[in-house]
Every structure is written in structure tokens, then in C-alpha cells.
């Protein structure tokens, strides 16, 4: 694909360099404001840092180190972004459902905000899943898109969770909004399960899920590194999205300003 030295032969990997630079930036930002001792960065940046470093090395491995696929040639490399995005879409939407149930059972606001955050990050991941899937399908199957059970169910899943966010945006009352978002999220999770099972239940152009038994060892390792990169980055993005939701919720809850006194 590109003629660069293999990752293992480099004295410092691009991912290690990225991580080092990111740590340095965070430290410098804090020192420059004179509050390095009492103002630590939020905990989730640790996940972002690890995720970014893993992603840089994972993508390098996918583009440089990974062998060509026997039949797909260079296009087999799309696997290293397509498969992790598929895994993480499923994992993130599974957590949406878990948080939705947790909210309805406990009524704790944090779970409601996490439902919102995971739904949005899951939608971003499913857009990535669809886009890389289409770019993978064209050179291998021969078309970008077809009306196939797997492709259609993935689209339904994406639209279902988009519907949850629209529902959320349409409800003004905080309690009703939280309850119905969670109910909607639990119902939308059905489409996630159907998407996962679609290649087993129905005839599809999409092959069955790959497993370490069907993928060669060096490819499995690169897939894992990219999957962990996506996992750590997803935790980071969900936490950052949660901070926005939390700040918004606290603002909405703040008592109204006292009426201005006019004389």
C-alpha cells in the first residue's frame, strides 16, 4: 500500500510519539495557566490519550504492516476500520439500552444523560460503519449498496436511534423527556439485535461474522489494536458528550433570576 518501514522496526512508533506530544500539550496548557498543581485534566482524557495512541499505531499497522488479503488485495485493509466500527456500534448501543433500563429503574439523572450521550456516539459510529461498509462493498461485492437484509437492518438501526434523539428534542418537560428517551432507546435496541443476527437469520450478500478462526493471526492482532483504539476513543467521546449534557441539565435546573426591581 505505502512503502514505509514496518512498525516493529521503528525505534519509536507514531502512536508513542502522538501520546508523548499529547501529554506534553496537556502539561504545558496547565503550566501556562499556572494551575498545574490543583487543576488536573478530567479523567476521561486518559482514555482519549490511550485511544489516540492506539489508533495512530493501529492505522499505521493496517496501512503498512498488514499483509495484502489473498483475494481482496489491498482493499482487504478496509477491514481494520470497518470491523472495529461495527463492533463498537453494537457495544455502544448495548450500553444505551443498559443505561435506559438503569434510568427507568432508579430515576437517576446521570443514566438519562448517559442514554443521550451513548446514543449520539453510537449514531456517529454507525455512520462510520455504513460509509466504510459501502467503500468495502464496491471493490469486493461489486456495488456500494443493495437492498440486502444486513444493509437494510443496519440502516433501520441507525434511523431508530436518530428517532430517539428527535423524540428527545421534541419533549419539553424534563421528566417526560427522560422517561420517553429511555423507553425509545430500549425499543430501538431491538433493531440492534436484529442487525447483529441478520446474517444468521436471513439470506444476505454479507458474509457471517468473522472470528479468530477465520482470520489469519497477524490480521487478528491488528484488528484487536484498532478495536481497542475505537473502544477507548468511544469512552472518551461519550464522557465528553456527557459533560455537555450535564452542564445543560444543571443550567436548566438553576432557579430563575429574581425579577428586576423597577422604581
Amino acid at each position: 500500500m505505502i512503502s514505509l518501514p514496518h512498525l516493529a522496526s521503528l525505534p519509536v512508533t507514531p502512536g508513542q510519539l502522538t501520546g508523548l506530544l499529547a501529554i506534553l500539550t496537556i502539561v504545558l496548557m496547565n503550566i501556562s495557566r499556572g494551575r498545574v498543581w490543583y487543576h488536573l485534566p478530567s479523567w476521561e482524557h486518559a482514555f482519549g490519550l490511550v485511544g489516540l495512541s492506539l489508533l495512530v499505531d493501529g492505522q499505521y499497522l493496517g496501512l503498512v504492516d498488514a499483509p495484502r488479503e489473498a483475494m481482496m488485495g489491498e482493499t482487504g485493509r478496509i477491514m481494520y476500520v470497518h470491523v472495529p466500527s461495527a463492533w463498537l456500534t453494537m457495544v455502544v448501543f448495548l450500553f444505551t439500552c443498559i443505561f435506559a433500563v438503569a434510568f427507568l429503574l432508579t430515576g437517576k439523572r446521570v443514566f438519562d444523560l448517559l442514554v443521550e450521550s451513548t446514543t449520539e456516539v453510537g449514531i456517529v459510529l454507525s455512520i462510520l460503519l455504513q460509509a466504510t461498509g459501502m467503500l468495502f462493498a464496491k471493490p469486493t461485492w461489486g456495488v456500494y449498496w443493495d437492498w440486502d437484509p444486513r444493509l437494510v437492518s443496519t440502516t433501520v438501526m441507525m434511523l431508530s436511534f436518530m428517532g430517539v434523539l428527535s423524540l428527545r428534542a421534541a419533549l419539553d418537560d424534563a421528566d417526560r423527556r427522560a422517561t420517553w428517551t429511555s423507553v425509545g432507546a430500549i425499543l430501538a435496541t431491538t433493531s440492534m439485535g436484529v442487525t447483529y443476527m441478520s446474517v444468521r437469520w436471513w439470506r444476505s450478500i454479507h458474509q457471517m461474522q468473522s472470528s479468530p478462526d477465520t482470520v489469519a493471526k497477524p490480521m487478528v492482532l491488528i484488528l484487536r489494536i484498532n478495536a481497542f483504539a475505537f473502544l477507548f476513543l468511544s469512552v472518551w467521546l461519550i464522557a465528553r458528550r456527557w459533560r455537555i449534557a450535564d452542564a445543560q441539565a444543571r443550567m436548566d435546573e438553576a432557579p430563575p433570576l429574581p425579577p428586576e426591581v423597577t422604581v
Binding site: 499483509p67 461485492w141 461489486g142 437484509p149 422517561t179 436471513w202 458474509q207 468473522s210
Partner: protein, 150 residues
């Protein structure tokens, strides 16, 4: 009812509906008119009824059946599901992954002469990914294909 009890009821209700819908979908056997593709056996069992309608069939490209004429841009081959074969005739080059022994989904229509005219040939590969190995028999690449779907 207290808001807490009401929310718990919503949780149970939503979970029951979601699980019910999932279970129903897993049990519902799709009508044969709704499946994404037919096998050659299913297509041939329809006889004349299937002729002229646009359908998809899926099978493996039969060994030694591929006849590609680059000058006329015509492709003739047979797909097989192990018991029945259908001859496919079409225009234009297939996807690059097309070869003997690989799975294909062909969209087109059965002609009155029993030859299937393809509008589009798609490749259905298996879930194996491996680096190229010198002298690897291509047949190995499709061994998990037949167990997929149904």
C-alpha cells in the same frame, strides 16, 4: 401511581415489547417471495412461473463453466447449489473477485429458453481473511460459504 413505580412499569413494558419483537423476528420464517435470493433449486422448482420476473439467485460458480469473451464483453457461466445448476448469460465484466468456486448473487430474469439473463453479478465471499500463500488452492476459500445463511 408514584413516578418511580410508573417508570419501572415503562421499563418492564419496553423490555417486554423489545424482547417480544426480537423473538418474533427470530421465529418468523420469511416467505419465499421475500427472501433476498433463491437457490438454483428453488428457481427451477418454480418452473415457468418464475420466467420473466426479476429475481436474484445465489450459488457457487461451477468449475470449468466460465466463458468470458473480452471482445464481445459477454459472460456465460453456471451457478450451482450442489444439486441443481442454472446457466447465466450476461453483458459486461463481473467484479474482480469473480472466479470459479466463489459465491455469486445474480440479479436478472429466467428466459423462456431456461437461460438466466443477468442484469448484475455480485460476489458473495466468505468470512475468511488471510494473506496470500503461494500455491493456495482457491477451493479452500469457499469452504465456509455453503454453511452460511440457508
Amino acid at each position: 401511581m408514584s413516578p418511580h413505580a410508573q417508570r419501572r412499569l415503562f421499563a418492564i413494558g419496553a423490555l417486554v415489547i423489545a424482547a417480544g419483537a426480537f423473538a418474533w423476528l427470530s421465529q418468523a420464517s420469511m416467505s419465499q417471495d421475500l427472501v433476498y435470493y433463491w437457490s438454483p433449486t428453488e428457481l427451477l422448482s418454480k418452473g415457468d412461473a418464475a420466467k420473466g420476473a426479476t429475481v436474484r439467485i445465489m450459488g457457487l460458480v461451477e468449475k470449468g463453466s466460465v466463458d468470458w469473451k473480452p471482445n464481445e464483453q459477454t459472460l456465460v457461466f453456471r451457478v450451482t447449489d450442489g444439486s441443481k445448476q442454472v446457466t447465466i448469460e450476461g453483458k459486461g465484466a463481473p467484479p474482480q473477485m469473480f472466479r470459479e468456486g466463489i459465491g455469486v448473487v445474480v440479479e436478472g430474469e429466467m428466459g423462456p429458453d431456461g437461460i438466466f439473463r443477468s442484469h448484475e453479478v455480485l460476489v458473495k465471499h466468505n468470512n475468511e481473511y488471510k494473506p496470500p500463500v503461494a500455491g493456495m488452492p482457491p477451493a479452500d476459500m469457499s469452504k465456509t460459504l455453503v454453511t452460511e445463511g440457508s
